[in-house]
């Protein structure tokens, strides 16, 4: 062990300089403030806000979450304060922290997406945009943007046209061909792809003979989904030229480094922050320790370094 080795954890994510590759995932870290008691924001690469929309959203009725074997389902229903309140009440906090904040956003129509991108583009405290395309397209009869390459391409292109900020498109895993989706988004102008968003799952309460979630189905996350996420990141990283953000079931530094080997430039920690609010910081620290212990001077040398 070369304990005195200085390791370089920094990565550049489509123009966003990250001091290390560990970010926190949208919807699992609030607007950043919620975790100040547990995570020194200076210890992580960046954090992603809860998904934002033009108008505030109430979200779904409860129960909204349920545990499943090794994972959880959530049907929060994208409850969020809306862009106005975000600017008024949350952005001042972003100004104070010296860590990039990436705004996750969504819409019900292409126009709403583009309007959100335009609004977020104007906020200096927002280092980058992450588009959540796992939302139903109300104009096209509810088909999810992220389930159809053409649909995804059109919404990505619309956002690309109105922002110069780094545009990360977050892919839905609920598709036959994740590589086709990735190509469509890359070609439409995405600067980076993050994956995976949650899988669609369901839980049933046998005794009540009812779904556990008021919304019936929910988004599946946590350690259980890691094998699927890792496979998709590996497939997509081989296929596209833009940097990848690996997400899905990352609980510790080993998991995070596996995603980097599979081709991710950075990772996001989601559900793990619920189990250990300090998870993201711990993962960044343990990653540094692993690099030292293994004599790896630069984490960038591990990106896509899987031998197959």
């Amino acid at each position: 062990m070369k304990l005195d080795l200085k390791v370089d954890l920094s990565v550049n994510l489509a123009g966003i300089a990250l001091r290390n590759p560990v970010m926190t995932a949208s919807g699992t870290f609030g607007y950043g403030e919620e975790f100040v008691d547990y995570v020194d924001l200076l210890s992580i690469g960046a954090f992603i806000t809860k998904g934002l929309s033009l108008r505030p959203r109430a979200g779904n009725p409860t129960p909204r979450i349920v545990e499943t074997p090794g994972g959880m389902l959530n049907a929060i229903g994208l409850q969020n304060v809306g862009i106005e309140a975000f600017i008024a009440r949350k952005v001042p906090f972003l100004r104070k922290v010296n860590t990039p904040a990436i705004a996750n956003f969504f819409g019900d129509t292409v126009d709403e997406y583009a309007e959100m991108a335009r609004r977020l583009d104007a906020i200096p405290e927002v280092a980058g945009l992450e588009m959540n395309i796992s939302c139903p397209n109300v104009k096209q009869g509810g088909i999810v943007f992220g389930a159809d390459p053409a649909c995804a391409a059109s919404v990505v292109a619309a956002c690309r046209a109105v922002t110069k900020k780094p545009l990360i498109v977050k892919l839905s895993p609920n598709v036959t061909d994740i590589v086709g989706m990735a190509h469509a988004c890359e070609d439409a102008g995405a600067d980076s792809l993050s994956l995976i968003n949650t899988l669609v799952g369901m839980a049933i309460d046998l005794n009540k003979r009812r779904p556990v979630l008021a919304n019936i189905t929910g988004g599946f996350s946590g350690p259980a989904i890691k094998p699927i996420a890792l496979r998709m990141v590996w497939q997509v990283a081989k296929a596209v030229k833009i940097p990848i953000v690996g997400i899905g079931g990352i609980m510790n530094a080993t998991d995070a480094l596996e995603f980097i080997l599979a081709g991710a430039t950075a990772v996001q920690v989601g559900t793990a922050s619920f189990i250990n609010p300090g998870a993201a910081q711990k993962i960044a620290e343990d990653m540094a320790a692993w690099l030292v212990a293994n004599g790896v001077a630069d984490v960038k040398s591990l990106i896509g370094a899987l031998e197959t």
Partner: protein, 275 residues
Amino acid sequence: MQFTSMILSNVEISPGYFRMRLTAPPEFSAARAGQFVMVRVSAAIDPLLRRPLAIFDVGVHKPPQSGSQAQPFFEMLYRVVGKGTAMLSVLHETDLLDMLGPLGSGFRLGSINEEKLIVGGGIGLAPLYLLARELVAQGSPVRLFAGGRTRDDILCTTEFERLGVECYTATEDGSLGEQGFVTVALNRRLDLLKGRATLYACGPDGMLAAVAKIAAERNIPCQVSLEGYMACGVGACLGCVAPGRGHSEETPDFRCVCTEGPVFEAADLLWGAHA
């Protein structure tokens, strides 16, 4: 605050109900009645999520031996209902548990002189003992109304009596105290007090709704402690929300149970959605 607790004791106090005492860091003695902890039941991923449990009591153990260090502790009272609580129930002294807390907002104690009527249903008693202690400590008159399905669900009344709290009990099957709901005795007491009292309640939704209704009808203050499925306990996942008074599809008003609650003024909540 995240910390590791060592189990000091874990005893079945009534069939299916356990009382666990654990070591606590010194800062934990500032915990207030109504606050809770999120317990990581296992270091493995099954169960994955932490379990929210109320703080039943806090204290400091001063060992009789001179020279020994005083040991802050806290207690939890829990009912075995599923996987997580079943796993807790088989843990032993010296086993370690990963804790997050104290979390949430706790009860407001209110004016000293007014009589405080505490209503607990079954395991709903868990956050109410520390409340009773705090109310007694500030000199308020306190009465407990404990309800349950059977006598097995009436917990720890001795502990309340030891504080000087008068206890009324009612069970649905009549196996202990009055038969029926404890709200009957509550109403009797409120009739006597002519509406000068504060209510505190924790228990099943039906009981909370009934108590909230009584409070609303008599126009007296009432605080209730809610449950909600929680993932994070720190206001980030938005899983635990409850609809506030003004909530509707068009005017969403969801309150975060883990940070704004679990204790709410009953009047601030929407009760239709719960009943």
